[in-house]
Amino acid sequence: MNARAIRAIYRFEMLRTRRTLLQSLVAPVISTSLYFVVFGTAIGSRIQEVEGVEYGAFIVPGLIMLTVLMQSVTNASFGIYFPKFIGTIYELLSAPVSYFEIVTGYVGAAATKSFVIGLVIYLTANFFVTLPVAHPVWMVGILALTCLSFSLLGFILGILARGFDGLQLVPMLIISPLVFLGGSFYSIEMLPPLWQKITLLNPVVYLVSGFRWSFFGEGDVGIGVSLLAILAFTLACLGVVWWIFRTGYRLRN
């Protein structure tokens, strides 16, 4: 295995992150603060408690997930799409690196960035609400796995995208609605029975639920189900990446 190549890609991507560090971190912090002001204060004053948790705290896992999913997809898709767009992809294709090394480097760097952003939001949230973490190891683990799997998804989108518009499409039209409808800001139990069932088709429900469990020891679905769903999603993404590289789809002519 060409470990140096992984390190080179990872380092090069992190250099890019560092160049744009301010906007990468400031934007999520500001938008999170806005959510707290709007959701926490305006709505929270009427709801007060969900599942025995203060509403302001209740929405934190969902808020972190919202930003982390968007950031993972955006970072990873941009990371691999940009070399394709400007043509420097030739370098990756002609280097003695395997697909595994390319994916590890790019996805690792994108996941690292969104993981850091997730932690920053967590710290920001502590300024607004008291936030217990019931299972810190699980919290970090679920966050890391989520960053990883959605960075994989982003990597796939970056390879498939034919233009910058395409890069924006999936986060805007798919991820964002799924997160909002995935119980980020409410408990599924608040929904009518039919919608409770339909909601279970939304993969983000399992992510948010598992993540919320790591904070409050309580989730919409069991933690085992959540973990299985996250793993299944990760494996599905890995499968697609494997297929893309095996066939060279939209990479090699």
Binding site: R16, T88, A95, S98, R252, N253
Partner: protein, 308 residues
Amino acid sequence: MAAIVSVRDVRKVYESGFEALKGVSLDIERGEILALLGPNGAGKTTLISLICGIARLGEGAITVGGHDIVTAYREARSMIGLVPQEVNVEPFETVWNTVTFTRGLFGLPRDDAHVERVLRDLSLWDKRDAATRELSGGMKRRVLIAKALAHDPKVLFLDEPTAGVDVELRKGMWQIVRQLKAAGTTIILTTHYIEEAEAIADRVAVINEGRIVLVEDRDRLIHQMGRKELTVELKAPLAAVPEALSSYGLALSEDGRSLRYAYDRAAERTGIVSLLRDLSDAGLALRDLRTRESSLEDIFVDLVRKPA
């Protein structure tokens, strides 16, 4: 001498159905400079893309240093440096980081001394901390070369290295190529500047419409296929070529003051002596004689124009 790059019966059909290569075989010898000549769309870049792993090999086999480029791609690609035709370079990163990135991709440990040497050789050392987007076109091209040299390749592909480059820079580029050859690097360059092939290549391969039309030692090529032309300037203008000289296929200039005679200098009898004798028998007084050797360009145009 063993070939360092061996291409066997390679065919390449793109998804669009376009057949870019129609059965190409080519051996590139260790340490030589091979010029790959051909008009636009002849298949030069496709051939390089296949060898370097940028395009998928359809039919045929390619080895680099004896390593199959598909089954032993790591070993094969480790030996190759590629300078692409398009000046594609990460715009926001510094020259130094861009070049060290390539070295890392090739799995080599950090070696600041080597990278410094490469940058100095290419007159980029002063620009090492500049973002590449701030550089001129010629400098960007040199950054691409620096990247390709960052891992000490044994085989260097230069795809149109001097396209759109001014004369001075072109000469500088040739100098770099000669230095690399002296250091033992095998160099393959594509070009459609014949002048370039004549100036630096050891061998010339001509590719046209997806086929290798010819591979030949440059000097022998010019010598063998080189037509020479004798121009005879006359004291008095002629209205037409005299009947007695019709067998020579002479061409009369518009002003009637010179006759051109084409001959093959490698031929047993060039016909020059008898032509001169016949000219004097015909009573034509000569003022001057001139010969001109055809260049690679004439040969190339001849080859490519020939119907396949």
